[in-house]
């Protein structure tokens, strides 16, 4: 589907978990790292396992490997694992003209195994530690339940990522196409939040919900972060300073988010002074909690594209903040990194 040029989800800014078009796929790697820990060996191993007995000849083994299209197999005797034999052992036997030798003479008797319940990271570690191509997998009772090769790990990870990606995509697609699916000359989504006063523990709940809503709508992480920060500062201002609480109305449009925070008092005596760094009328207990240092409005100005504050003592305040969603010119929309020493 073709998207309008100005959209909440500019091409490339749609994300499957955090990267912008210019940034390398850092979160993609993180996702795989997570999966390597989350996935269990039993979820990726090959099962059932083709096995041979110690009495099998190398010639018979050749046929088994060829017809089953495998490169090695555990050797089982009376239900117990006694060795492992691979295509390498077969090649050596062929070269030495010992095609009639028994598997028991050519196999590796000391077998390193993995447990079905262990996470895939264990297998990754073992593969990098030992130069072997496959590990038999045992259950908690020591019974052979599967076999794992590096191909199994790769396939398992790709499948898991594919599933996650597919589910996420469907959800994101539904939410993020709301502006295209609903036809009008000008579509806005209005979210309204009531902000309590002096209820410190609940401070920030609205901003957290706003963030989540924007993520669902497919906003890119940098933009969602900016909106979250300005909303949080505005929310904390209402929570700290007002006598009756207030409300925040968030208007989401394809190309911008506008937040209007209003309250019914007590109002700001000197708006210009309130904008000065470090100027604050917050009580001591608020300062002890890490707020009220007179930096909130400055932060809003820093992260917003536009901000407008008006206030009347005894009436209340109205703070209007606009964040453009595709303002590539805004330095805060760049992918953020850390200073290097």
């Amino acid at each position: 589907m073709k998207r309008a040029p100005t959209t909440l989800f500019p091409q490339g800014a749609i994300t499957t978990g955090g990267q912008e078009e210019t940034a390398p796929s850092k979160t993609g790697i993180t996702k795989i790292q997570e999966l390597v820990y989350e996935l269990k060996i039993k979820q990726v191993m090959t099962t059932p396992v083709v096995t041979v007995s110690p009495e099998t000849t190398m010639g018979e083994l050749k046929e088994i490997l060829r017809t089953r299209r495998i490169s090695g197999t555990p050797v089982m005797e009376r239900g117990g694992l006694v060795g492992i034999v691979s295509i390498e052992d077969l090649i050596k036997a062929l070269v030495q003209g010992e095609i009639d030798a028994r598997v028991s003479e050519r196999m590796t008797p000391e077998v390193v195994t993995l447990r079905a319940e262990d996470s895939v990271i264990e297998a990754v570690r073992k593969f990098s530690e030992l130069s072997v191509g496959r590990f038999p997998v045992l259950d908690e009772n020591g019974h052979l339940v599967g076999i794992i090769t590096s191909v199994d790990i790769t396939r398992g990870l790709l499948q898991a990522i594919g599933l996650d990606y597919h589910e996420e995509e469907i959800q994101r697609y539904r939410a993020s196409h709301i502006f295209e699916d609903i036809l009008s000359d000008d579509t806005s989504l209005i979210l309204q939040y009531d902000i309590p006063c002096r209820d410190f523990e609940r401070g920030g709940e609205a901003s957290s919900k706003i963030r989540r809503a924007l993520y669902h709508l497919g906003g890119n992480p940098q933009t969602v972060r900016r909106v979250g920060i300005v909303a949080y500062e505005a929310e904390m201002n209402i929570m700290i300073h007002t006598t009756e609480g207030g409300k925040m109305v968030v208007e989401v449009q394809p190309n911008r988010v506008r937040i209007v925070a209003t309250d019914r008092g007590p109002g700001i005596e000197d708006v210009d002074k309130a904008m000065e760094p470090g100027y604050s009328t917050a009580p001591e207990w608020i300062r002890e909690l890490g707020f009220g240092a007179g930096m909130g409005l400055l932060n809003i100005r820093k992260f917003a594209d536009e901000m407008h504050l008006e206030s009347a003592v005894g009436v209340g305040s109205r703070l209007e903040i606009t964040i453009m969603l595709n303002s590539k010119s805004n330095p805060l929309n760049r992918s953020e990194g850390c200073s290097l020493r």
Binding site: E201, G203, G204, R211, R225, I229, M236, L289, G290, G337
Partner: protein, 115 residues
Amino acid sequence: MKLREIIHILEGKVVSDHANLDVEIPCAAGADLMSDVLAFGRPGAVLLTGLTNPQVVRTAEIADMAAIVFVRGKVPPPETIALAKEKGIPLITVPYTLFEMCGRLYERGMASCDL
């Protein structure tokens, strides 16, 4: 530097469960002023602070930070731990001062979060 390594360097203790300690931390910030955390915190960074109220977790969430370290042996109250659990942000307590903790990480090459 991985979170696991940071905890080791700081001799810290994880106070919230099910934390992924193998997450890579790009930089660190030490602050007790939440507006500073919002202004200078970086996504994925670790926050070192002397405050333990739930708003510290909220602030870290809003600033997309990955973990919080409480200095001088402070143990966060249950409501802070509950919110951290909900948001999936690991909490760590360390016995030493903010100054020393920042120093140890800086000495080991941890980058500072700033613009």
